[in-house]
């Protein structure tokens, strides 16, 4: 049924490197093929119609997180979005807001994620008596491992940052991805940081108390991470620290 349709793409075009370029929307037509994703369509467009079109992808399987963009008003992964989802055959593509624009649909999420990791210290801080690299690690309770793994699934696509009005209004807000990663280390029994240590990082207006529970993160995350539950957990935990 989807075969034989002609799709219309409205794509945001702008190259900040070019002095005279202005942001604009450009329309493209393309024949739909069975099982077509937005990612496949973009590659075809670039191959057949406009070689200057910029967008990112690596894995084309929802694993690397590079291909996130705003598709008809929903920030999500292009490689996991079937064109068949759109009965009218009209698809508007915008770059993720809130990130440095590299060009067209390509944004610098990597730079953002790196700065966030440095700011929030998003790596394991072993307990002080646990720095002997020759000692065997204690086995981890499988349930704990499963809980950590659930949060480890984040692909750092940046969707939750773009979907959050709080983050868009307040640049210094850590956003959902930062809080999910804090929650991940807070749960990890190998991490030596106490609730007070975490309070100093996210117990403020830029952290969990700045979150207004708009839940754009929860509703758009392509990996279905449990933001609502985890942020509420952090909020309760932090509200009970330093009472």
């Amino acid at each position: 049924m989807t075969q034989g349709r002609t799709l219309t793409f409205n794509i945001f075009r702008y190259d900040p490197q070019e002095a005279n370029d202005k942001p604009k929307m450009v329309q493209y037509q393309i024949a739909e093929t069975p099982g077509m994703t937005v990612f496949i369509a973009l590659n075809k467009l670039r191959e057949e119609q406009d070689t200057s079109l910029q967008f990112d992808f690596v894995c084309r399987a929802g694993i690397c997180g590079s291909c996130a963009m705003v598709i008809n008003g929903f920030p999500t992964l292009a490689c996991r979005t079937l064109t068949a989802k759109y009965p009218k055959g009209e698809i508007t593509l915008m770059p993720l807001p809130g990130f440095e624009l590299i060009g067209d649909l390509s944004v610098n999420t990597g730079k953002f994620m790196r700065e966030l990791a440095e700011r929030l210290q998003l790596w394991l801080h072993p307990k002080s008596d646990d720095i002997d690299v020759h000692r065997l690690e204690d086995p981890m309770d499988p349930e704990e491992a499963a809980r950590l793994y659930e949060l480890e699934r984040c692909v750092e696509c940046g969707v939750c940052v773009s979907a959050c009005a709080t983050k868009q209004m307040r640049d210094t807000f850590v956003g959902a991805v930062g809080m999910m990663k804090i929650a991940r280390f807070e749960m990890d029994s190998r991490d030596g940081r106490t609730a007070e240590d975490f309070y100093h990082v996210i117990g403020n207006q830029d952290g969990v108390f700045g979150c207004m529970t708009l839940l754009g993160c929860q509703d758009n995350c392509p990996k279905d991470l449990p933001h609502m539950q985890q942020i509420a957990y952090l909020r309760r935990k932090m509200a009970m620290t330093l009472v």
Binding site: G73, P97, A163, Q205, M212, T213, G216, M228, A232
Partner: protein, 246 residues
Amino acid sequence: MANNPSPAKVDLIASAVKGFSHPIWAARADRLQSASGVLLGLFIIMHLHFESSILLGKETFYRVVQLLEGGMFNSTGHGYPIVTKVFSVFILLVVITHAVVALRRFPAQIGQWHALRGHLKGIRHKDTHAWFWQLITGFILFFLVPVHLFTMILNPEIGPNLSAERVYLDNVWVLYALLLPAVVVHALIGLYRVAIKWGLVSQRKVLRQVVKVLIVYLLCLGIASLVAYILIGTELTIPVQPFSPH
């Protein structure tokens, strides 16, 4: 005795001066915002029910008012309007507390407002739009709620005829017609958000349905009672006599 403040006192003053910038206030403000919001939200649900007892007749409304004004402590069964006065002052204090902590959430800079407008236009997300309406209604309430509360503090006579006189002859129905939708929408989206943000409810879909039904129900209740007061108002003879039960 020496007037030198003890080191402990100096510490205390220093921390008071540093004041609300201390990170502990981030947690306190968040708790205070939710607590004051819940208090006001539960109050408004009860208030709308008490006020709309006029739908069951003048007699019922009269008895509800007498009861709430402390009639059981009076051998004649009559309440004291001072109770309304004092309670209104209390609610005003809660509203002030709530507004002070909630105002932190307002997009105070023009850039933030533009970012919000741009976001609402570019990203389709229901809960964010719901929050936007909470923001707008909160702003409206900031001006309207004090008007209503000051009336109740300065002129707390409540009764089937006296209230109808206020609503119809003094044209206060205009205020109520604006207050009702603003407060119902604001309070119910707010209660939804409190339940979600602290993780009290995990069944978000169900909660959303409940909230929608409650919004419609409370609006109907409020509109029906407002119409009832207006109808009573049209039948009043001047000077208005307070209602007395047979």
